[in-house]
Subunit: 515 residues, 2 copies
Amino acid sequence: MTEQEPTSGELPTVPALSRRALVGGAGALAATGALTVAGAVEADAATSGGRLPSRVDVVVVGGGLSGLVAARKIRHAGKSVLVVEARDRVGGRLLNHRLSTGHVVEAGGAFVGPTQDHVLRLARQLGVDTFQEYIKGNNVYIDSLGQREEYTGTVPTGDPAIADALKLINDINSYAAEIDVSAPWTHPKAREWDRMTLDEWVRRNVVVPPKPGQMNSQTQKLLLAYLQAAFGNDGLEMSFLFFLWYTACSGNERHVGTFDRNSGTDNAAQDARFVGGSQLLPIRLARILGDRVALNAPVQRIRQTSSYVDVHTSRGVVRAKRVVVAAPPAAVLGIDWFPMMPVKRMAMLQRMPMGTLMKCDAVYETPFWRKAGLSGSGLNTSGAVLTCFDNSPPGADAPGVLLSFVGGSTWRRYGTMTRAKRRAAVLEGFAKIVGDQALKPIEYTEHDWTHERWTYGSPVASMAPGALTTYTDALWRPFRRVHWAGTETSTYWTGYMDGAVRAGERAAVEVLERL
Amino acid sequence: MTEQEPTSGELPTVPALSRRALVGGAGALAATGALTVAGAVEADAATSGGRLPSRVDVVVVGGGLSGLVAARKIRHAGKSVLVVEARDRVGGRLLNHRLSTGHVVEAGGAFVGPTQDHVLRLARQLGVDTFQEYIKGNNVYIDSLGQREEYTGTVPTGDPAIADALKLINDINSYAAEIDVSAPWTHPKAREWDRMTLDEWVRRNVVVPPKPGQMNSQTQKLLLAYLQAAFGNDGLEMSFLFFLWYTACSGNERHVGTFDRNSGTDNAAQDARFVGGSQLLPIRLARILGDRVALNAPVQRIRQTSSYVDVHTSRGVVRAKRVVVAAPPAAVLGIDWFPMMPVKRMAMLQRMPMGTLMKCDAVYETPFWRKAGLSGSGLNTSGAVLTCFDNSPPGADAPGVLLSFVGGSTWRRYGTMTRAKRRAAVLEGFAKIVGDQALKPIEYTEHDWTHERWTYGSPVASMAPGALTTYTDALWRPFRRVHWAGTETSTYWTGYMDGAVRAGERAAVEVLERL
């Protein structure tokens, strides 16, 4: 293999206890990808790892990308910091998985692209390279009749549903261009858009309606293929305003966010991947932070006074001047807050369900589809594989890997069957796109994020109708001595690694200005 | 006053430690109504109260009505039981408030009516009487022009919007009659109905649309007055199928649920109240259970093995053969589960936000409106008071009390202003209905349930689009040795006290069959 995640030999020389705190016990296995089944590690390990420091300037709750970025920035400013992480590994929704060949693929977030400047800069700083997602050759589209069509570019053009979808996307882009990403609730149509679900808006605006007795037209099914991968839902549980805001956030200060930049591959959010796997970023941040990262330390209670904050973890209480919380919505709700979280934030978090999503990968000796002139990218509107990507690691000797996102109602159907049945359905889905050779992988691996107790789903939380216009900035407005990070609190690339980095940096600045 | 909640003299003779466990410290004050401001009691009191027993047959998580009913039934069967309650009081969403006159009104759930057989039977067993809600005289309706109209019966008839609303209600009733309350997802139209919000269904079916530039027609505003009181939301965050199911649940095995029985007063869900306040029910259940109720004991972790369950609380670990969890959705999500809760249940709980609601009461020397031929019941479509009820305690010497529910978007507007401003707006709303005498109360009291850290809102949780058809019976299906209670898990009178009692009884039966 060309690159891999750090081995224990790469770990810095720190005292035994500190090393244990960083990648202790089973955590070391998980961080190197040898152990990826969530929940397989009995959490009584949380009692191990020793006592935490009793006082630091800042406690960061959550050792995902966002929290670790915040901690590093705070540390760079010369302040003492401690990251407390519930799991036995760092990385949150970033999780490397080592294949039997020794190569690494991501079980969680993976892609990166232009305008995601913050995560790309971080990667350069950490010495993590990127490589282009493979896009040469033809993409494949299976139409409503099951007919296979090869095409180039972002969308197939031979299907009448495409024109319909493109009209919707055009409207989405023009609305999103009007959204102020830091205050989407101020748009003149904000209440009208926040009142309906994305699904309702699509139903009202598709030109070609579903056939009698069918729930969705082909146009809607095309959109579902995107939504299920991008949000882990079918658009029923998010407001149209949230979706427009999310689209508007898919850019930066100089480039307005668009549907295409959000959903596309070439020169868009799925443009490239990280050599060695995206979890290298949090792993290397944690290495820099050393024993300032404490694993197996779920936070039970956060108690603020006018002069300090006590963070109660299963490994003891740490007193800090300021706290950064970088955890997913349901995990934040689960903390016993004193005084209570602001009611608007508590209400908003209850209206931000995480998607239901799993990633399924099939591994082959080689990326055989490339020789057949195929990119490995495909789109279907039925079966277990609605979207297919070439997920092969970089390098001439690397195996071929096909990836499918199984989310939303497709997760409901396929995510809940036996692994053997699902494997067969996923391989059949790959075979429809790249041919029957896909039926015989040398390895099959999957990761169902609905089983992750500290994330509660994947890939992101969506906001219910009414939430954005009712609770507005509750998600990122500081709460006394507590500041909020996590990708959901970013106003550019929210939901992505770049948003996680941005939110962590913003929270660190907030804290440093007040220390 | 004619009746009041038990004083400490009514408490059974139990050792000092046990009494402390039952109504210890500030809890005793709260339980007797002298202290009702949520969050005012510093929860470090949770460390007081002594150690819990290390082993019992059954631990019940949550000392609300549902959990206490389950515990009593398990105790009656001769099994050992312990209720662990996070707060310093029992009762959950039932909370008596003592007025300065000494009389009691409810800061939380209050009303009861025919077909709510289970809670009525419980009240008889506990010696808690009911009295009829005052309905003599005329009701008042303020129409879209601000014109005041007196009427009798459930709805005013002089407004053209009423006919429109009645048509919608008629449709709701006929659909609800087709719903199997124990399996609403099996209705042929379940997926169609679960795909849209209640708000969307109303928008699509109102005959008279909103005027240009307005969000809602008068018909929709009438429905909002009901929704905001009944659900604490505007119908944007619940699926139409959930609403139909909730309506269908407003009945019992012999009487089909209807909108009218759910929303009405006379012979409906708001037919009567409890003498001494509804919290008498949990208070008396707790008295029967004695030191089997432990307060100030929030549950942090539930760990199941094949032969027992360990319930980790701030007051120690209790090992049980079976566990009943009777806590609101967000509180259950906040527990660290090992093994993890079933993913479908975890996903469903994330799609069940609690409403945003407060109750506001104004107290007068006498119920002066009665002499003017008014019932005290009123309906408006603007201002802080959309619905007004006579909330006077029983007895000839009792003061007059007017009650308003401030929920959903009305809570967003009025719940977030200063208490003084809100008080003025609420009194003005009362005055529009019963006259200017309402502007001069002898007392004003309010309780905002969004500030309740262990309930996360009020009065009930609503289910987001897609939840019922996706996760089906996840809410009440037992999880190994854990069984589920709480009103949200009932299939009759879900959301009401009767549903809480039913769910507690059902969970106890499940447990007893397996002990």
